[in-house]
Symmetry: C2
Subunit: 200 residues, 2 copies
Amino acid sequence: MKEISGGASEAVRLAPGEAVRLVNTHGTQVVDTWCLTTADPSEYLSVEHTRRMLFALFPRAGDRLYSNRRTPLLELETDTSGCRHDMLFACCDSWLYRFYGCAPGHANCRDNFIAALARLGIDAPYVPNPINFWMNVPVSDNERLALEPPTSKPGDFIVLRALADVVVVFSACPMDITPVNGDRTPRSVAYETLRRSPSG
Amino acid sequence: MKEISGGASEAVRLAPGEAVRLVNTHGTQVVDTWCLTTADPSEYLSVEHTRRMLFALFPRAGDRLYSNRRTPLLELETDTSGCRHDMLFACCDSWLYRFYGCAPGHANCRDNFIAALARLGIDAPYVPNPINFWMNVPVSDNERLALEPPTSKPGDFIVLRALADVVVVFSACPMDITPVNGDRTPRSVAYETLRRSPSG
């Protein structure tokens, strides 16, 4: 298992059939997650296409996650938490921390995404809306949104199975202003890559 | 008033304080709508940022619409329909029509967006998730989504007031497979630009 410190990010390459298991070690950490195809970084996991293909606001175990060309890139094979995973809100960025009155230079998921890809030599053409695993954005009255602490438990994990050659980016969200990371303290998560499934 | 044929698109430049009035002439037409700043097309109306700032799935009259840098670009000043305007689904694209088994070359909002900007000499760096005015995507059980015919009426209109120097792109959606445009027939809409408001 490799650790991602709270507030940090990592990019992981996966071949078709390979998977990554992401563990919410402390149970309170939101992980903003992106996926791009290796062949063309302009093809990316698109939540607006995924919602349209799933007819759902949130992904559930067994769901495929689609690209902006309507190609399935990943399958959310396992989810021990059973909780909502936000796909509605942009990742945090320097402009959000400025909005909250923070000093310049606050770590943020947008910069984390760009930096993680740059370490692999990939120049991200832009920053898609991520899937924010374990981020608790409840919907009420079929319209209103809120930000609440995670309902996940220590050790909860997801498995993302690759359906194409992809790069997956995880950012252990640095948010310490809103309660999305529980007590406003970013904490570490861990991941490991898994070999092909028996049927893969 | 200028007309946009069913299935076609137009791009409109607005200075701060100017507005555009968009009329759903026949009441059944969805209009995919984007907005970019004139100074930098990589700053765009971002529905994922707008949801986060509004804490709502759908925009309502009086709401400001935010960029990916969390700057308000437009205000939805007037909305005679009072209905939902989808901000959850990607625009239609060649891959969607292929998914539905259509022959190549079907008009689509993605190509319309790119073409409308190209006519102004703007090379769109990518295609954001639009606001789909009058598109009826009901939410049930705070999670499930559907596609239904519009509930707007002939002559319903919206007014979008510019809060910055922007380009607004309208695509009278060419969709003729799903019921988002009512009886599966794209129809014309009309628009006019409005001078600055008395307070503008």
